[in-house]
């Protein structure tokens, strides 16, 4: 997941909250929009998958570290993990 850092504004999340969510509920306090990338990685361990994805994300500029932060999570699937 790639989202804007804390403090950096997120017009998309704001617009979704103001123009859609607020019209139907007041329980949602904040909406943040970002990009979701899922990688099927062919490695043994979850930690290895996380390391690899982090490395790719950083070195190949899948995100801009000045603006974004990333959240990396792994999950085992049959033949790989994401």
């Amino acid at each position: 997941m790639i989202i804007n850092k804390e403090g950096i504004r997120d017009p998309e999340g704001e617009a979704i909250k103001n123009y859609i969510i607020n019209k139907v509920t007041d329980k949602v306090k904040e909406v943040k929009a970002g990009k979701y990338l899922s990688f099927s990685v062919d490695v043994k361990e979850e930690s290895e998958a996380i390391e690899l994805v982090k490395k790719i994300a950083y070195e190949d500029r899948l995100y801009n570290p000045i603006v974004h932060r990333i959240i990396v999570r792994a999950e085992k699937i049959e033949n790989g993990s994401n």
Binding site: K5, I8, R9, D10, P11, A15, I66, V67
Partner: protein, 552 residues
Amino acid sequence: MTISLSSYELELIKKELKREPKEEELKVIDALWSEHCSYKSSKVFLRSLPSEGPNVVMGIEDWQDAGAVDIGDGYAIVMKVESHNHPSAIDPFNGAATGVGGIIRDIISKGARPIALLDMIRVGSLRHERNRWLLKGIISGIGFYGNSIGVPVVGGELSFDDSYTDNPLVDVACVGIVRKDKIIPSVVKKPGLKLVLAGLTGIDGLGGASFASRKLSGEDEIGAVQIADPFAGKIILDVTLEIADKVEAIKDLGGGGLAVAVTEMANGLGAIVNLDKVPLRVKGMKPEDIIISETQERMLYAVKDENVKEVCKAFEYYEYPCAVIGEIIEEPKIKFLYEGKEVVSLPSSLLLSPPIYVWGIKEDGEQKINEKPNVRIEDAIRNIVTSEDLVNKEWAYSQFDYEVGTSTVIKPGEADSALLLLPNGKFLAIKGDANPDLCVEDSYECGKAIFAEAYRNLATVGARGIAAVDHLQFGDPKKPKVYAKFVEAIRGISEAARFFNIPIVGGKVSFYNENSKGEPIKPTPLIVMAGLSDKPFRPSIEEGLDIVLIGI
């Protein structure tokens, strides 16, 4: 956040105030005295540019605002050029996009409807991965904003040189149209007007003006990142044009945030701003951050009491924040109040008159290259046709909606200048030109040459130049060789403008463009020229036509 004021300037401030300035006050002064807002290193020379002419309806007031020229039938065009170089170096997509947003707000703050955008992009060679990343982000950022806001990008330049590797140049220009008698000033003439602010203020873009007025430090510049929100920009555009009749002055919030907008709008009169009234995006902002935040998509209006309601109602329709935050006062002081306390109280005159500098000048001792280089003609041709500069630019302009407005007669890629149908039935030609390679060798000749080139480009679509804006982009002005180039370029541009009798109705200066090794970019003055024609023109090339070359 760092303060860029020099020790000399700090002394000056203390002497004027006869007291120690408060922390908050220093930040306000820092913003107003930044190079970006005050032109302290360039003003002396900029005054030599010819800015008058019989068709100029609004000249340049302190080089801050867009200028306007009469085009007949009761209409005027408003034009302006800007760059967003430093923000684009750290976040190309948002940096370029917010550049478009900024230039559009400059045009609408005159009450004019923006009708055309140009983008002039310079990056390092695409052989480097990072430059490709930069260029992709820049082009899609410009498209993102321009397309969303519904102003066609009708032309521009795209060229490559390794001197821009760490410091790309992202220049955008905008032309707007307005009824001549409906042009709105950016400054007020009398006290008592209410200050109305539209848009939320956040902590993004803290200290951007001073960021643009120094070298890129490479450290975490998060405060300087501004996120583009073209949707909000479009609301600002629509509402501003809707209420233009009901306001006395309009000012875009750009570099230096509220501090600069309020002070410049008061223009020597005073203002009281109640910071508690400023609509905030995040809770718990410090008062000084509210004052200098550079959050995009905000606009300041000076409004007569009786019109305030109607102005804010127009924003309410779009569920966009709008608030009365203060008032213009007689006493020539800029005051910011927070929770009942005065956090800033500074004389307008101090803020509006920073020290003016003329830095040392040293001519480049190097021999100018006059002899013909010894190249084989085959190699020369191969080099030229394989040059990144000369490839088809469709990849770039096909990402821009150049048709919106249904007025684009000559579209990108069709000729050397764009041509647009105006509401009075005339045709507007517009083009931007620079020539950094020539400037490296002789920046005086270069100043003349780019002006003439812009004029020729307009001529290729049958138009005659009527007004120009310039953008001067250089390295660190305190370096004598850089400064010498700067001064020479202005001399060249001035001379050409006088020769063609075309007024320069606006412009912009951007210093401190350097790579990570501290080497300046190639000097890159740029001219954007607008011209008029009575007839439409459409190039049509067919077999059997003769080729004629004019000139020696």
